[in-house]
Structure formats: structure tokens, C-alpha cells
């Protein structure tokens, strides 16, 4: 359970320091030991060690104490973990493309001597992400099925496959699962997983330092997986380079997998030719998981840690954290770590006590008034306008969305919903709710709007 304890420490520190500080110092750290002699934390290098000893020690002690651990002292040890998140085979690949190659001095059997301890396998894939560990619900079954089809026949069906959706909904998990599955089925396939940010910075480096081998690296793969494509927006030259890479791979029937937080159409400053290419394969969105899926995720994660959670606890967590799977996992980890430290069972009362922390900033109850207000605000309308008898189109749709939300979030009766928005007839409410329910299935714009209002409600 060291990992869970450390995760809850990291979670709290991340809130108190800047993002840059957090990624600079706390990446590749781990709690490796916890006994009478104290707590041992592994850090990647001497600089981090000194920084932890002098600057973060007190804060870590304090947070550990909050989690029920009060070590005598904290020791810091230096361990090399994966220094680069993208470990790949390309460097050897592009050599073999030359007409002549120098025979390597070092026999390949030697390679075990310099493998890093990183869990990453070749190509930047994390073996933890597999299809088996992905939990399918109605919100993501299309994406799941399509991903499996791609993994079975890379480069043939759905090329490129473009997955989009909000943070923490499993895009990275699915993409990595495709990569892992392909490597498993066809060992020797060159899979490269990168974030678009890596692509951008390597591209800049290649220009700045006149490094060679940039385009070869990306063009000599069988499967290219690019995460968080939206970060390429506005970077014209990089987009052009990616465009050529894309064409090269696509022409040679190599599989391309892309993820982003928005559909290609909604990324501003994405050049037309890239947009049309992203749209030529299959774009699928991953939506927020419904209540049942959230429960299933929690149960699966808990049983991975070897702990059986009661149905009540699971439902309590799933009910209280709705927007993001990562947050859901965080709450679960915190609960498990807390229970373990205290030696109590992770039941509903523990969860209630603890979740007070997680969601302190959230309103316990949403009122109908809040829903109408937030909806009106989202569309830049006045509450009076939404509740007025006007039937202009720009008011009607927000009104219908407000009705839908009143129904879905508060389970209000139709007559009350109608009353809330100044309608006389409850059939108007029934019609509106049905209309939005349908629209959510068909229209991305509506779906996105409903999701973002919902996010604001719970924020």
C-alpha cells in the first residue's frame, strides 16, 4: 500500500505548489519503504534529493501525519527511473534503412545491462493499460469496440481512429490498450506512443539544433499513437510536419491513432488539410460514464488492490464523484490508504468522513434555481428570459436544456419543471426533456453544452 499512501501525499502537494514545480520535482518519485526506522522515498537525482531534504521535508511529514503515518524521519534515496517517457526502438530502425550499416560493437544480449527500471516497454507503452482492464459502459462501448477492431487489424479498418472526450475518461487507456494488444499479437511491430507536446518539442529541437533523424523516427513506425492532439493547435510548422508524417504513414497503410479533447472541427487553428485528414477515418467520442459504469470501475479497481468494497460504499463514491474517472480513482485510493493506515474497514462511514475532504468545495445539494441560473448564464441569457413565454430559437433550446437538467439531476416531476420555467402545461416539459435526450445522442454540440453546464453545476 506504499503506492496508495504516496499517491495521497502527491495529491495534496499538487494542490499546494505550481504545476511546473510539481512536475519538475515529484515526477518519478516513490515511497519505497515504511517501517520503524522511518519512511524512505526514492527520487531521481541528487538535485531532487537536496531539494526534498531542504524544501519539502516538513510538508511531506505533515501530510504523512494526516494520513496516520508519523515516521521518525524521512530518508531519500536516488534511483534511476525512466528518464524519458518515450523509449523506442526507432534509433536502431533508421540505421537499417541506410544502404550500409556499421555492425554494432555491442552484442544485443548485453542490452539487459542497461535496461532502466521503468515499467514502460518499448514505444512508450505502459503494459498496465489493456483492454481487459478497461471497463465498458454505454458511454464508451462504441470507442471500445472500434479500438478492438483496430487492434485486430491495424492499418486496415478505421485509419486514423480519432478518440475525443473530456479529461480522465479513458482515452489514453484505450489508445495504449490498442498499442499493447498489437504488440502482443504481432511481436516486433514498431509502436510509438507520444503526446503531441513531445512531437512539438522534438520538432523544435530538430530545427534549433539541426538534429537529424526526426522525420525518420516518426516515419519508421507501424503504429503511431498521438495523445492530446489539441496542443498542436496554432503551431503551423509543426502541423505541416505532422501532415507529412501522417500522409507517409497513411499511404503505407500504417495505423494512426489520435486523441484530443475536442472533435477535429472544434479545434481552432487546426489547418484545413489536417482537419480533413483527421475526419477521414473514424472519430468517436468518449462520454462521461453513467452511474452503473462508475460503480463497475470502482469495484474493479478495489479488487485489483485485493479489497472487497461494500455495495453501499461503491454507490456512495459513484454518486458523489460524477465528472471524471481519474478523480474517482483518486478518491478510492485515498479511502483505501486511509483505511489501511488506520486499520479500519473502508466502509461507507469512512468514505463519508473522507469525502468531506475531497468535495469540500462542492454544494451538497443543487437547487432548481441554480440549474436555471447556470444554464441561463452559460447561454448568456437572463433568467427572466429563459422563464419568459418568448419562443425565439436562441431561448427555446436553453430552456429545454434547463428542463432536461432539472429532470436528470433533481428527478423533479414534469408539472413542477413546467412550473419552474413559467410554463402552464407539463406536456411541454415532457416534450422538452425527450427532445434533449434524443439530441444528446445525435448532436455533439448539445452534448457538449449539457456536459459543460453539468460540470459548472458540480464545480
Amino acid at each position: 500500500m506504499h503506492h496508495a499512501l504516496w499517491q495521497s501525499v502527491l495529491g495534496e502537494i499538487e494542490l499546494s505548489v505550481s504545476h511546473a514545480t510539481f512536475t519538475t520535482w515529484f515526477k518519478n518519485t516513490e515511497l519505497v519503504n515504511n517501517d520503524e526506522s522511518g519512511v524512505t522515498i526514492s527520487v531521481p537525482n541528487i538535485f531532487a534529493k537536496k531539494q526534498f531534504e531542504v524544501k519539502f521535508n516538513d510538508q511531506i511529514l505533515e501530510i504523512l501525519a494526516k494520513n496516520g503515518v508519523s515516521p521518525k524521519r524521512i530518508n531519500y534515496t536516488i534511483t534511476a527511473t525512466g528518464k524519458r517517457t518515450h523509449i523506442n526502438r526507432e534509433t536502431t530502425v533508421n540505421r537499417s534503412d541506410q544502404t550500409q550499416t556499421a555492425e554494432s560493437l555491442l552484442p544485443s544480449s548485453n542490452s539487459t545491462a542497461y535496461q532502466t527500471k521503468s515499467p514502460l516497454t518499448a514505444g512508450g507503452l505502459n503494459p498496465r493499460y489493456t483492454f481487459d482492464s478497461f471497463i465498458v459502459g454505454s458511454s464508451n462501448d462504441l470507442a471500445y469496440t472500434a479500438s478492438q477492431a483496430v487492434a485486430a487489424n491495424p492499418g486496415v479498418k478505421y485509419n486514423p481512429i480519432y478518440l475525443y472526450g473530456g479529461v480522465g475518461l479513458g482515452k489514453t487507456h484505450l489508445m495504449q490498450a490498442i498499442g499493447n494488444e498489437i504488440v502482443k499479437n504481432q511481436p516486433g511491430t514498431r509502436v510509438l506512443y507520444i503526446s503531441s507536446e513531445t512531437f512539438v518539442s522534438e520538432f523544435l529541437d530538430s530545427i534549433r539544433f539541426k538534429k537529424k533523424g526526426f522525420s525518420e523516427k516518426y516515419r519508421n513506425v507501424d503504429v503511431l499513437i498521438v495523445d492530446d492532439m489539441q496542443f498542436i493547435a496554432g503551431k503551423e510548422k509543426t502541423q505541416e510536419e505532422f501532415f507529412h508524417t501522417f500522409n507517409h504513414l497513411h499511404q503505407n497503410n500504417k495505423q494512426i491513432i489520435i486523441s484530443s479533447d475536442k472533435p477535429p472541427k472544434s479545434i481552432p487553428t487546426l489547418t484545413e488539410r489536417l482537419r480533413s485528414r483527421f475526419e477521414m477515418g473514424m472519430s468517436i467520442d468518449i462520454q462521461m460514464p453513467d452511474f452503473e459504469t462508475r460503480c463497475a470501475i470502482l469495484k474493479a479497481k478495489a479488487s485489483l488492490s485485493g479489497i472487497e468494497l461494500g455495495q453501499e460504499t461503491v454507490e456512495y463514491l459513484a454518486n458523489n464523484i460524477k465528472t471524471n474517472i481519474r478523480e474517482l480513482e483518486g478518491a478510492l485510493n485515498q479511502l483505501l490508504a486511509y483505511a489501511e493506515m488506520r486499520g479500519i474497514s473502508p466502509d461507507i462511514s469512512t468514505a463519508e468522513g473522507l469525502l468531506g475532504n475531497v468535495r469540500h468545495s462542492r454544494p451538497q445539494y443543487i437547487t432548481s434555481k441554480q440549474i436555471v441560473e447556470k444554464t441561463a448564464k452559460h447561454f448568456q441569457l437572463k433568467v427572466e428570459e429563459v422563464c419568459s413565454p418568448k419562443r425565439d430559437k436562441h431561448i427555446v433550446v436553453p430552456r429545454q436544456i434547463a428542463m432536461y437538467l432539472l429532470r436528470s439531476e433533481l428527478h423533479m416531476s414534469f408539472p413542477k419543471i413546467a412550473d419552474e420555467l413559467g410554463r402552464k402545461d407539463h406536456t411541454t416539459a415532457i416534450h422538452s426533456v425527450e427532445k434533449i435526450e434524443k439530441a444528446i445522442k445525435l448532436d455533439y454540440l448539445v452534448r457538449e453544452q449539457v456536459a459543460s453546464i453539468r460540470e459548472k453545476l458540480y464545480a
Binding site: 511546473a20 514545480t21 512536475t23 519538475t24 537525482n45 541528487i46 538535485f47 531532487a48 534529493k49 537536496k50 531539494q51 531534504e53 531542504v54 524544501k55 536516488i78 534511483t79 534511476a80 528518464k83 524519458r84 523509449i87 523506442n88 526502438r89 534509433t91 541506410q98 544502404t99 550500409q100 550499416t101 556499421a102 555492425e103 554494432s104 560493437l105 555491442l106 548485453n110 545491462a113 542497461y114 532502466t116
Partner: protein
């Protein structure tokens, strides 16, 4: 903080330290230089979290304190000042600089946010004192064969280790290898120093430095040249057992004048640009000569010959750049070049019997 220093000292310290500061990292403060008083001295320091360089200069300290300021701006400002004394004063998070008629206010960041600089304990570590000349030569002889492939971190540095009572430097990128014996040692050392660190140390060497102090502990190394210190992490991992790769016997052994060899290699290289530097060397015992042949299908071809002492006929294809680089760091006027057929490693070293350096290149498969 309030103090006075000479322009000369400050400019030198800033230029020695400032190279390490980089604005490319995620942490913006790493683009800054740390200025901190230490009794009657001023510490000037920068780090990129792989390397930290520090230098102390004498100062008249009126009020102790510390500040960090953008490296480029302050270095360039100070270096353009006339050689007079410079007054530095911290007001809030700004640094006021005054020298004669010149005044500047630089917006800084408080020093608390600057990463802690690692320290190394002198008692629990191994120390060496090496002549600057030897250090320079040994490092430049080995650094050329380090790899820049980040997937094999252990190859991206020079392996400093003790072997049979000597401190030895070795480096390989998988296609070539170099080894240099530096000095006698009684201690056991095994450390891989990042290429970037060694380059930084080479740059820090000035004309007036005679010796370099090197201090190793398990995870870090410190170099001291005069008042400048460079502290760096070491690369974690095991360096491959390279000694088994060195051929024990060779079938073709050539002794050749170095300048002749360099000339024909360079000429042949001109015609090898299309083919990735590939040149073919033929040694002829009867003719007492070595000839190099290279072809560029678009441009033409070339054959150059030089006389040499040859024992055993043979032919081998190499990358001309690798050969050139090797020849440029080998000592002495004549070179011993040995190989065994087209596939086995080639060995290059000075013809001098007491040489402390050898260089190995793998042939190209044609």
C-alpha cells in the same frame, strides 16, 4: 542584499556560470542566476537540474542577502560595463545595479524559489588532482565516441573507472569505442559522467588554470577549476564490459604517417557524402601502400594512395567521418591501424609503444 564587486570579476563569473542556466525547462527560475552573499564573498550559481555551476568572487558586503535574476540579461549588461566597481542592491524582488554613470533595475525572483544546490562531502568521497592539459586531452579523446541515444543512457557519458591500478576513461556509442588511461590510482572508482557535464567542464577551463580537482561520491561528481565548481549527477547503470570487444590479434597491421592518412581520408570523404561516408581502404603489402576508394554515383569517384608499412593484405569499409574524428585525437606523428577482414573491429592508435589511448571503429557492411 547590498554589496560592491569589480566589473571584471562579476563578468567572468557570470559568463562561466551562465551557460548552464536555461529557459527551456519547465521551471522558469532555472533561467535565472543565483546571487547570494557568503560572509565577504558573493556566490554566483546556476543549475539545470543535471549540472550546477558555482563561482565565488570577492566582494565588499554591506548587507547580506540573495536574489535571482535572468541570466542572459544580467550577463550581457555587466559584460558591457567599463572596468570599474559595480554596486548591487536588492530592493524587494528587484536588483538595482549601479556602476559609474550606468544604472539598471532588473526584475528578479526571490532566491527562496531557487533549487537547493547539491553539496558533496569531501571525507566520504574519492578525490583526484589532474593536470589541466591531461584532462583536456583525455576528455576530448573519449567524448567523441559517446552516444546521444537517450534510450541507452549508460552510453551517453564517459565511463571513469579504475582498472589494474589506473584510472581509465572509456566511451562507446555502439559503433566505435575509445579508451584512455589517465593516471595511477589506488582507489576503486566506477562512474559514468554525462557528456554534457564534461563539455561544460572543458569550457570552464581557462588559460590560467593548472589543475583540476575531481571529487566522486556514489551519485555525483564535482569538478573544481580555480574558483569555479561544476557539480553533476552521474548516470545510473552498468557500463557494458567493453574489454572483451577489443580484438586480441589482427591480420592486417599498417603503420602510416598521420598527416598522409588524414589527407587521403579527407579527400576520399568528399566523394562519400552520398553513401553515408562509406570509404573502402585497401592495404597492399607488396606495394607498401594503403589506398582509399570512394564513389559518389552523381559526382564521380576517387582513389587516393599513401605509402605505408604494411604487414598482411586486407580490405575494409569504414565511415570516413569516424576515421577522421579518430585521427584528429590520436597523438604522435604516425599511426598504427589494424584490422582483420571486412567484419571485425578496426583498431587505431599512436605508433608510439607507450601510448595510453586506443580507438576502435566497426566496419560498414557493404
Amino acid at each position: 542584499m547590498e554589496l560592491s564587486v569589480t566589473q571584471d570579476n562579476l563578468a567572468k563569473a557570470l559568463s562561466a556560470v551562465g551557460r548552464v542556466a536555461s529557459s527551456k525547462t519547465q521551471l522558469p527560475i532555472l533561467g535565472n542566476i543565483l546571487l547570494r552573499t557568503d560572509s565577504n564573498r558573493l556566490l554566483v550559481a546556476a543549475t539545470n537540474l543535471e549540472i550546477a555551476t558555482t563561482q565565488y568572487i570577492g566582494a565588499k558586503v554591506l548587507k547580506p542577502g540573495a536574489i535571482t535574476v535572468p541570466a542572459r540579461l544580467i550577463s550581457e549588461f555587466i559584460s558591457n560595463l567599463p572596468k570599474e566597481s559595480v554596486d548591487l542592491k536588492v530592493v524587494g524582488s528587484n536588483l538595482h545595479i549601479k556602476s559609474g554613470k550606468y544604472t539598471s533595475i532588473i526584475n528578479g525572483v526571490i532566491a527562496d524559489d531557487f533549487p537547493e544546490l547539491p553539496t558533496i562531502s569531501e571525507e566520504s568521497s574519492i578525490s583526484y588532482n589532474i593536470k589541466t592539459e591531461d584532462f583536456k586531452q583525455a576528455v576530448s579523446q573519449t567524448i567523441i565516441t559517446t552516444s546521444n541515444d537517450s534510450t541507452r543512457p549508460v552510453l551517453t557519458g564517459v565511463y571513469w573507472h579504475s582498472h589494474e591500478g589506473q584510472l581509465i576513461l572509456a566511451a562507446t556509442d555502439g559503433y566505435r569505442l575509445s579508451e584512455r588511461k589517465l593516471i595511477d590510482t589506488k582507489s576503486e572508482v566506477s562512474a559514468i559522467i554525462p557528456t554534457q557535464t564534461l563539455q561544460e567542464v572543458l569550457r570552464s577551463i581557462t588559460d590560467d588554470s593548472q589543475e583540476i580537482d575531481i571529487l566522486f561520491d556514489e551519485t555525483q561528481v564535482r569538478f573544481r577549476i580555480n574558483d569555479t565548481e561544476v557539480i553533476s549527477r552521474l548516470i545510473d547503470g552498468n557500463f557494458p564490459d567493453y574489454r572483451q570487444l577489443v580484438p586480441k590479434t589482427t591480420s592486417t597491421n599498417i603503420t602510416i604517417d598521420k598527416s598522409d592518412f588524414v589527407r587521403i581520408t579527407k579527400i576520399a570523404g568528399l566523394f562519400a557524402r552520398e553513401s553515408g561516408g562509406s570509404i573502402t581502404l585497401t592495404a597492399d603489402e607488396a606495394k607498401k601502400s594503403i589506398s582509399i576508394h570512394s564513389i559518389a554515383s552523381q559526382l564521380g569517384e576517387n582513389t587516393s594512395e599513401a605509402s605505408a608499412d604494411v604487414a598482411g593484405d586486407g580490405q575494409v569499409t569504414l565511415n570516413s567521418r569516424y576515421l577522421n574524428e579518430a585521427l584528429s585525437v590520436i597523438d604522435g606523428d604516425s599511426v598504427l591501424f589494424s584490422f582483420s577482414g571486412k567484419l571485425a573491429p578496426c583498431v587505431l592508435k599512436s605508433a608510439d609503444k607507450n601510448t595510453n589511448y586506443y580507438h576502435i571503429i566497426m566496419p560498414l557492411k557493404s
